[in-house]
């Protein structure tokens, strides 16, 4: 490991340096906190061993600066304080300020070596975590990029298919018999479904990407917005959508509105009778529990879990149009807000979708 020593006493510094080098570790030495800070910024430093009292910048200040810098850079520096044995309060204060360990004067080299072994262990764990995090971020970004590129690239040939089938129908209307017209309609419908799928995948990939920071929002307003978007469907089906008192939560208003829109939209779509949808919320400990209950076709309890996976639909929904993406978007959104979502249902008995959001 690379060690940086900050110690104003020449003798102690020399001893520390020799003890560190003795085990083959690289060693930088500074006579005060300021010099140490400059060395820290110019070199890769795994471990800092710092005295408490030093001219210019003392150990505690050095520790604060190092920790602040660390929050920005993705590296870890193991900070060991050096203090006289009886200064217990110094040790406590140092650990509070972010030091990892301490050594007492008079210094015992064996203690130092033990500390360096611990530091090496922590560093190795930290490097593993950092490497995995970087890999995860990279593959997530790649996936989102992939979804968005694929979706965009699929749009244009799809437009060609739709456009040319439309032209076919227009130019050759009088030459086509009923069978040919049916085929062309089949092509157009398929293209429309595919368009919906692509838009859904795109929306799914974009959940959580570059969103504004969540702020307190009134769920009643959010639900009203969803209802306004569903206005045409509600009118067409004569649906009755009601809601009780709804709380204020910290969330992204657009995304949460999308969740309500998907859930209410589903409730209306998967229904043979006149749709009745009831929305309510109750406080459960540190969370708000939301309900969206319908009188729709319901599903087997076994399917209730699966339907939140992308492209998965309940068999009972097969006769209705749909992409199998809406609930996946709901799940991703709710989980990104620190909540859970699930469905309770019986075939033919309606469904209740429930989700939680952290209360402030």
């Amino acid at each position: 490991v690379n060690v940086l020593i900050a110690e104003d006493d020449a003798m102690t510094r020399l001893m520390l340096q020799r003890a560190v080098e003795h085990h083959g570790h690289a060693c930088l030495v500074a006579q005060d906190g300021l010099e140490a800070w400059q060395l820290f910024q110019a070199h890769t430093v795994d471990v800092i061993i710092s005295d408490w009292l030093m001219p210019l910048v003392d150990g505690i200040e050095l520790c604060r600066c190092v920790r602040k810098q660390m929050d920005r850079a993705s590296s870890y520096t193991y900070f060991i304080f050096l203090t006289v044995l009886e200064d217990k309060e110094h040790m406590r204060a140092a650990m509070r300020e972010g030091a990892d360990d301490y050594l007492t004067k008079p210094l015992d080299p064996t203690d130092l070596w033990t500390r360096l072994r611990v530091a090496a262990r922590v560093m190795s764990l930290y490097r593993q975590v950092a490497a995995q995090k970087a890999e995860l971020e990279r593959s997530n970004a790649e996936l989102a990029q992939f979804a968005s590129v694929v979706s965009h690239d699929l749009q244009s040939p799809l437009s060609s298919i739709r456009g040319f089938s439309q032209l076919l129908q227009e130019y050759y209307a009088e030459h086509l018999d009923a069978r040919a017209t049916k085929c062309i309609t089949g092509i157009t419908d398929g293209a429309k479904r595919m368009q919906a799928l692509i838009e859904g995948v795109l929306a799914y990939a974009q959940v959580g990407a570059q969103t504004p920071p969540p702020e307190p929002i009134d769920c009643a307003v959010v639900v009203e917005r969803a209802l306004a978007n569903l206005h045409a469907t509600i009118e067409e089906r004569g649906a009755l959508v009601t809601h009780g008192d709804l709380p204020t939560v910290v969330a992204d208003a657009t995304q949460l509105s999308q969740v309500f829109q998907n859930l209410i939209g589903n409730a209306i779509k998967y229904c043979r009778a006149t749709p009745r949808v009831a929305i309510s919320a109750t406080r459960e400990g540190a969370e708000w529990l939301f309900w969206v209950r319908d009188n729709g076709i319901g599903m087997d309890a076994a399917d209730a879990e699966r339907i939140f996976d992308i492209f998965q639909r309940a068999p009972s929904a097969a006769e209705y149009p749909g992409t199998g993406i809406g609930l996946a978007i709901c799940k991703k959104t709710i989980e990104r807000h620190g909540g859970r979502i699930w469905a309770e249902s019986c075939l033919g008995q309606g469904t209740t979708f429930k989700f939680t959001l952290p209360a402030r």
Partner: protein, 117 residues
């Protein structure tokens, strides 16, 4: 001088640093007179903060080399700094000078012996 502290140094020395003990002693003997002078000066100026700092740092290096009595007297000074007991401070300082003289003689002999062996 406490032999245990020096034993730790010898451990390091035994591991392929034949000159370490002598080196450390040389640095201590080189730096300490200036520290003592700083203590005297701080007392003369009745600068409690400077006294506390100088005493603290001399305490650290002295305990490291095993100069137990010097370290203890430094701790006393740290405690006395800021008090109005000027005579007490002067007395501690005088005993500190004497203690260091004894340590110096001892360490010089030790460093000399170390070099010969």
């Amino acid at each position: 001088v406490d032999a245990r502290a020096l034993a730790a140094l010898r451990d390091l020395q035994g591991a392929g640093r034949p000159d370490l003990l002598a080196e450390v002693i040389a640095v201590y003997l080189r730096d300490t007179p200036a520290r003592l002078a700083a203590l005297h000066e701080a007392v003369a100026r009745t600068d409690a903060e400077a006294l506390r700092r100088a005493a603290h740092s001399l305490k650290g290096s002295s305990s490291q080399i095993g100069a137990v009595q010097v370290a203890r007297l430094c701790a006393d000074l740290e405690g006395q700094a800021g008090s109005t007991d000027l005579r007490g401070i002067a007395e501690t300082l005088r005993r500190l000078d004497e203690a260091f003289d004894r340590v110096r003689t001892h360490l010089q002999a030790l460093a000399g012996g170390g070099n010969e062996s």
